[in-house]
Symmetry: D2
């Protein structure tokens, strides 16, 4: 279980929302409130876009906890980004704590041929970012089955060992050629098909009693999709919130500086970054948040057919 935050809006200094809010994602690394265990100290990561510089996002992942990370404190003030995704990790029992298991995961368009001819460390083009908060029910067996369902190009792109990264490989497989230039519907569809796929596998491997929780966030740098999903027999779902405002600036502790009637900027977060009911609303269980390239933000039921 983990916490994540995504931003979509006018370019913002990366440190603004990463550190300044009283309940920022870095604060949530020690003091998460909406899950039983407040600690998310098993590494963290931040990915961000500057589309005029590169189609691929920057990705920073660090196995040490967010709260004592000095590098990001000194890098983030120099970053201005219209879309970013950050994640603090609480490793599921049995899953290794190392950088390659930190979120967000980069991915996207690539071919096996490309991959083999290029720098082995940063292969292919990676225009997507993906993060996950939750756990796939029966995940070991599901992951084994899921691997078998992956084409080579997605199979070989997996670098770590989390259920999350495997789910992302499946998202990319469902995206297929659309990964190069996806519509919002493409992204939504790939995420929903992945949830269905994983849930079917879960039942197939006999883990019906072990529910899945899948709050995921996927972005191509222009659009954002986030879900709040839990299997029918799950007691509850991981929390998810969406905040909309004219902009998110730290003046006056956000309260005054934010025009709550504006909606140019959207934040999707496991927990609200500050208290302001005019800005934040809960995402209901089994719903998704979408932010279109033009900033239009919608909350709608997930369209998934699960066993």
């Amino acid at each position: 279980m983990c916490r994540f935050v995504a931003y979509h809006g006018p370019p913002i200094r990366l440190d603004e929302l990463l550190y300044a809010p009283e309940h920022s994602i870095v604060q949530q690394s020690t003091d998460a409130r909406e899950r039983p265990e407040p600690l998310n100290g098993d590494g963290w990561g931040v990915g961000w876009y500057e589309p005029e510089r590169s189609p691929e996002p920057a990705v920073y992942r660090e196995v040490r906890p967010a709260w004592s990370d000095e590098n990001m404190r000194r890098i983030s003030p120099l970053v201005e980004t219209p879309v970013y995704l950050a994640h603090v990790r609480a490793a599921s029992p049995g899953l290794a704590v190392h950088e390659r298991n930190c979120h967000p995961f980069p991915g996207g368009e690539r071919t096996l041929e490309d991959r083999r001819d290029r720098d082995p460390v940063v292969e292919g083009r990676h225009e997507l970012l993906f993060a996950h908060n939750g756990v796939i029910g029966g995940y070991r067996d599901v992951v084994r089955r899921l691997r078998e369902d992956l084409a080579d190009e997605h199979y070989f792109a997996i670098r770590g060992s989390t259920d999350s990264e495997h789910a992302f490989a499946l998202v990319q497989q469902y995206l297929g050629d659309a990964a190069a230039d996806p519509t919002l519907d493409d992204l939504v569809d790939a995420v929903e098909r992945t949830i269905e796929h994983v849930e079917r596998l879960r039942v197939d491997v006999g883990a019906r009693d072990d529910p899945t929780e899948a709050n995921v966030c996927l972005t191509d740098g222009e659009r954002v999709v986030a879900t709040r999903y839990a299997s029918a027999n799950a007691d509850s779902a991981q929390t998810l919130h969406v905040g909309e405002a004219s902009g998110f600036v730290a003046d006056d502790e956000y309260a005054g500086a934010v025009d709550p009637d504006g909606n140019a900027a959207t934040v999707v977060a496991s927990e609200p970054l500050f208290a302001d009911d005019r800005v934040w609303r809960d995402v209901p269980r089994n719903h998704r948040v979408t932010v279109a390239a033009d900033g239009t933000t919608r909350v709608a039921p997930l369209d998934v057919d699960v066993p």
Copy 2:
């Protein structure tokens, strides 16, 4: 490509051979001589046994380089061990540098049922240690196929992403029930069957032109098996040496203190730890070194039937 060293003999202080020889394994982390690239700086690891205390070895793996590791400098003088295995890593291109990819890997007797009920971090019983120097030809495709050939209990035991750890899973599968109390022949057989298996897969996936090099070392804490193997079309094989003496003590820089006619202690190493022709001999290509529980050391041709 990497370097490793294994010791079998009278209990020895761990620091004696780890640091004191002029060409110790730690020295080889910066100045390996028998491979084109002298640097083995992508993490390291040490595993050791103290059988009167635990049937399972201690395992220390660290992603930072061996030469600047202060923990092992301060732990090793308090360890007395009859069998240990140390490894400095030079990561193959494209393979991640993190602790779970450092050698030696622990493994051994375990059942899936056991594994699930126990502490998720240290699962099952791990009485074996395994290290590898080399590379499996066509390894990505081979590893994908190899995974499919693994039973669940060995598949799920894999924690990292190296070809080496996958080969070790196959070794354990060939060992089967013998893993609980193996003979020397069991260990030799499991390693040889694994080499054959991997080499068959390599040809099956169309990587005939991409030769395998497999200098591996396997121990159960009482016996040691090490190989020097390369596919027929490999230009050369990774080096391997075996040293025998009455004991290895740092007095007088080894030369005088070692009785070269004695054979109570055996060291198997990618490179000799010091210069003394009375102690060290080369292991020929496609041969194996075995050290029996009573210390008997033999060098013999590998008995493998490879395509």
Copy 3:
């Protein structure tokens, strides 16, 4: 602020008390109960003695949190030790999070001449271990002054930047030649003189309103001294507890296996490792716990003359 635990008694497997108790020091890295902030995630360390093998303790320090550390989980079952000291760190604001700032610190008898001629990484002989929970009032100014009061041999032995390590340098300076073979009184006296020295400096630099908290633990591998000290104007003192029993074994969750009337084994800990009022008692403020070489455990008022 931090948590620590020290053991003195019959040799014990290191993992027994490190991991097994329901409120072990590793558990306290996430769930400390007796300080306002439950998290001690800024690195940790363990030092232990095996006197028949070496007069110097093994020291393991790691900047990553205790809870996800796999190395110590795999090393500790092979260690049998009559005296050890472990510490989980919550870094004071502004103090760096890296290994050299993790406790316990090794130290002891050394000479400047020795130090310069030997391996630069592990210099001199280090027969003492020291850990600290608390903060020195006005510490930056105090530390600057304290440095000036140190003789070269102690000044140059400092490797990190914590107030704690500086206090330990002063302890060693007060120990002087006695560091080579200290009595229990020598250890007590050095700690008490250090508290007095630091408190005088604190007033001298004008930090009277910034109280010191000094729960320290010092051992030479045969004796243990621990303090619970706070300046007179401190609202409270860090907690300290002492547990005595015939032995600490994980059977039956300690309760039944421990003979509370026995006193062969002593544990000094920031928080009790398990609930059993027959075993544990609070150490009052401004008192010290001493464990003599023969195991005799005493709680007595600190004999310090502070401003």
Copy 4:
């Protein structure tokens, strides 16, 4: 001993010179040619400016070696910077390997009052970057004396334990109020006075026979000063090179794309990043390179009066 590289010129993508040249600074982390030991694997760091975003530079420092660092590979393509400074470290014996000892060090204008009231992790304003290749003769004794010569504001700003960071504190002390808006002469003067100061201390502490090597690089984001200095009795000085061109772009492996008659862009580097005699020239011993805000690059003798 270490290697560094500084860039001053038209904004450049950070990855261009960091990775692309055949003898880039990352390549020099394993294969330095102009020092006896090719390895610079004890951590690394990169600092860069984007003045329209912040007056303070971004600073990224990592204790793991440059060659396996995936974060900078994924961040650097999104950075466009007119001035940056990168450094790969080979730790002097006895100096700790951790992030706070990695170069470049940030510093600059600050006051003690400011420092205490602000975020403890990133204190004051840090508009300067400093890196060092070499060693201060008699450094332990010199550093002790040097500390005593520092005013509180510079003394307390030191976070690590290297001689290099202490020298930088002295540079800042000589800069004084000019640190807020220095001229090129201010920067040169502060570096030269620091060399004189350190060299006088070296003789004072009786280390006349232990020569200093001080290839340092200092920048405020608009100007760069680098030195190639060695004490008179040093056998040789660390190497330093300066390259000038119309720009540094990876096309055609630099050779064709660079207009060697241009001088808009300057690189100062321990070793040339690629072979092109039209671009690179050696900096003579005891000379300095200066790059003015307008890009004017000069090599001139150091004006230092040393014993």
